[in-house]
Symmetry: C2
Subunit: 151 residues, 2 copies
């Protein structure tokens, strides 16, 4: 292993880019240099960037690219499964009276957050690797998908 963290090395990156190109064509998407650049910048980092963060990186390659293009492209990648949005990110902050132990299911379409309770999820055991290194304040099982009304 000569690559730290989850970063992708050059050979892997080129291979992934080829796969990505096919994936675009299969999905009926055009293979634009901007799209490739955004994809590659995303793979090159392990910092889970926002659209804004990637925009700054891609701008070094395409100085005239717009933030909207970066954002739209990332959402498109998410749709074809070439990249993912970090679960739970990107929505307005929501609050919870939190009276009982429970877990959340979030509908990606209508954005409803629905409580459910499954006892085995109440006390998840963390690996020592994590609990030694970080102060874990909250741990939960989080589900996303389509609710009964949207599905």
């Amino acid at each position: 292993m000569n690559n730290k963290n989850n970063k992708t090395n050059t050979i892997e990156l080129d291979e992934k880019t080829r796969q990505f190109t096919s994936q675009c064509r299969e999905a009926g998407l055009k293979v634009t240099p901007q799209r490739i650049a955004i994809y590659r910048e995303l793979l090159k980092t392990d910092e889970h960037p926002s659209a804004e963060m990637l925009y700054e990186k891609v701008k070094k390659i395409f100085p005239s690219i717009s933030l909207d293009t970066v954002n739209r492209t990332l959402l498109t990648l998410n749709e074809i499964g070439a990249a993912f949005t970090v679960v739970g990110s990107g929505d307005a902050r929501r609050f919870d009276g939190g009276l009982h132990e429970h877990q959340h299911f979030r509908c990606v379409k209508c954005k409803r957050i629905i409580d459910f309770h499954h006892k085995p999820f109440d006390n998840i055991k963390l690996p020592a690797e994590i609990s030694e290194k970080f102060t874990v304040l909250r741990k939960t099982v989080y589900l996303e998908g389509l609710c009964n009304l949207c599905g």
Copy 2:
């Protein structure tokens, strides 16, 4: 049971309000009617409201309340543990190249998202109650806390 979902009935609500009052005083916070109203409106719903949603409700009681007050108050409640923010909500959308199966730890202070991988978390078994009712697209164990740099 004559209360649907997680909604709190009147008796419970009054009891919770008393507890909340003590909790404020213990934390050195003033007990203002606005604060009480916000807290009670939060408990009365199971829709996991945003600050904006609660603002609309509380405005019926205090027509001149400001959105900022609602938002600040909710963040304060979260700090003293009288309410909770829904895990993962309230931040800019973040993306992930998602090359390998992994889970996320999010630092609440610096907002870094850190990957970790704990095999037992890869295939969580859902209760039938959920998988029958909803189309679950993603399921994950999500951790929040303080990272090694902020802790």
